[in-house]
Symmetry: C2
Subunit: 336 residues, 2 copies
């Protein structure tokens, strides 16, 4: 599947990213520790409600709250460093690759340098910002989101599998909204941009020739023409806004209606004595974390499809042949 | 206070926004209804836990869950339309103002048209996107956020005032983090941008003159120079990343540690019989909504400070005198 999904350039970029593997692995360890702390948290909450509060177990309150506090502080601190290191490491990667590409350019024989200066600059700056993301962030972040989804699923099924299945039943609807409205968002956004450039061009034309328009007393005519174009743009924009709001609110809707539904079925089980109240409350909190990873994974997979062009542009400079002192050009070392 | 905070241009823009007051008021009604539904929700949750689940009151479960579901569906639906209307209304405002400014330009005598074409186009397009925000969104959104903050505070104090005071005690810390790290973020971002342009300029210079560099065999020298500059930029970027992560994680930290703290003090009260478990759970959910409005209000006030330049640029075209048929220029109608 993967071999069809990614282009050969993207695959080569992934292979190239191996040189940064070691540090990425360290950052990974940070994120994994965060996941472990988050795995324990809901069980502490359940214990706190069921075995401390409901049993009026005063002596246990302080130790359990302290444990809870430690878990929260620990997970936010680890998360802080994991986020800082992955982003600052991204800066290091840009630095390295910038110097590598510059060296390649300096070593290449003049005959190969038929790029435009602006294009080279773009490849060495803004392109590299994206490339560095692919090199250090994309893969770990997809894996971490899959682990997050696994963590949430594990907790939900351990707490109560029928309720977990009920929660899972919403995932197809969530994905349908995500896919349907993202496609619509992209279509309407394209239309909106088209309308915008049309208005921009029309304004430019009319403002540049305002004196001619006045000379022939055509003010009324051109104003009407502009009005039609602006109106069309405005309509496009409203369709874009509609898709945007539908996407956002639709995703919120799914996770929001799950609260009363879980409370209904879970409440019935609590009253029947099949489920403890602590489990239900903890379940409710954890279930909200099911959709975030899904959203992020789908977003990252979409970004990966842009990797093709970017990696092609990167390797075009990376593969420049070196000028040798004898005046003979060697083929690039990693020529396929 | 307000008169000192805003420039005369901004104040004039607010006065000008009165022409859109009626529709904005309708959108406002939507948002207010959302607030009312959100005000009821935690009381339903409390009733559900305390009087339905804890009392095993089977006959009440279905009606209460239905009510809860209705409240959730109602609030998301209203929120959907409120968001759609305010954004689509923004598109209408751009349309209107674009036509008004174009008419002004067409009517102005040529002698007054000493703007550059590109500048006029920017004022009629990207400037107007911001202006339309100020005209229809800024004021309502500040007011709605204040109402939201009021709603959350009201619920918290009605549920349990000592716990509410405890939650309020974190607000100064929240604001300190917000102010301190936002200032740092702006400073480090400026440095990062400076470092970036330096690298960009250095790359341009070296790539343009790569043949000269080679001719004099200065490759090693220029590569070292570039390395120093890129390293400096990379350091700036890391400082920027540090402030950004500190700001985000700091704000999350405050709201995250409140959960165990509220559970600790609230749990003690539950065990003493002063507080019901349902109140504590509902309190916990609502308390998380205290920080969002604070963050948004402070953000919006910051944006308002950019309104000065934008409104000045807007009124410069709006105030252009009209060319009269007799060849005498009238003063603009709303000339101060």
């Amino acid at each position: 599947m993967i071999s069809n999904f990614f282009s050969s350039n993207t695959k080569r970029l992934f292979k190239y990213s191996k040189k940064y593997q070691k540090k990425v692995r360290n950052i990974f360890a940070f994120f994994l520790s965060v996941e472990i702390l988050l795995l324990i948290q809901p069980f502490v909450l359940r214990y706190l409600i069921d075995d401390v509060m409901m049993q009026s177990n005063f002596s246990l309150l302080l130790p359990i709250i302290m444990l809870y506090l430690l878990l929260v502080i620990g997970h936010i601190t680890l998360n802080f460093f994991a986020n800082y290191y992955i982003m600052s490491y991204g800066a290091d990667v840009i630095k390295n690759e910038q110097l590598i590409l510059y060296e390649k350019l300096q070593k290449a024989p003049p005959i190969f340098l038929n790029f435009k200066i602006g294009d080279i600059l773009a490849r060495l700056t803004s392109d590299l910002e994206y490339i560095s993301n692919f090199l250090v962030m994309t893969k770990p972040s997809i894996i971490i989101n899959i682990i997050q989804f696994g963590r949430v699923s594990l907790i939900l099924f351990l707490f109560n599998w029928p309720l977990a299945l009920l929660t899972y039943a919403t995932i197809p609807i969530y994905f349908w909204i995500l896919k349907h409205f993202k496609t619509k968002l992209m279509e309407t956004s394209k239309e909106e941009r088209k309308g915008y450039s049309k208005v921009m061009e029309s304004l430019r034309e009319k403002i540049e020739n305002v004196n001619t328009i006045k000379l022939y007393k055509k003010e009324e005519f051109f104003q009407q023409k502009l009005k039609v174009e602006i109106k069309e743009w405005s309509e496009n924009k409203k369709q874009y806004v509609w898709s945007e709001v539908s996407l956002n609110r639709g995703l919120i809707f799914i996770s929001a209606i799950m609260t009363p539904i879980i409370l209904g079925f879970g409440g019935y089980m609590v009253m029947k004595g099949i489920l403890t109240l602590g489990t239900l409350i903890a379940f409710l909190g954890v279930s909200q974390g099911l959709y975030g990873p899904l959203n992020l994974i789908s977003g990252q997979l979409a970004t990966l499809q842009q990797a093709d062009t970017l990696s092609q542009r990167f390797f075009e400079i990376f593969d420049l042949p070196e000028e040798e002192s004898e005046g003979i050009y060697s083929l690039p070392k990693n020529y396929d």
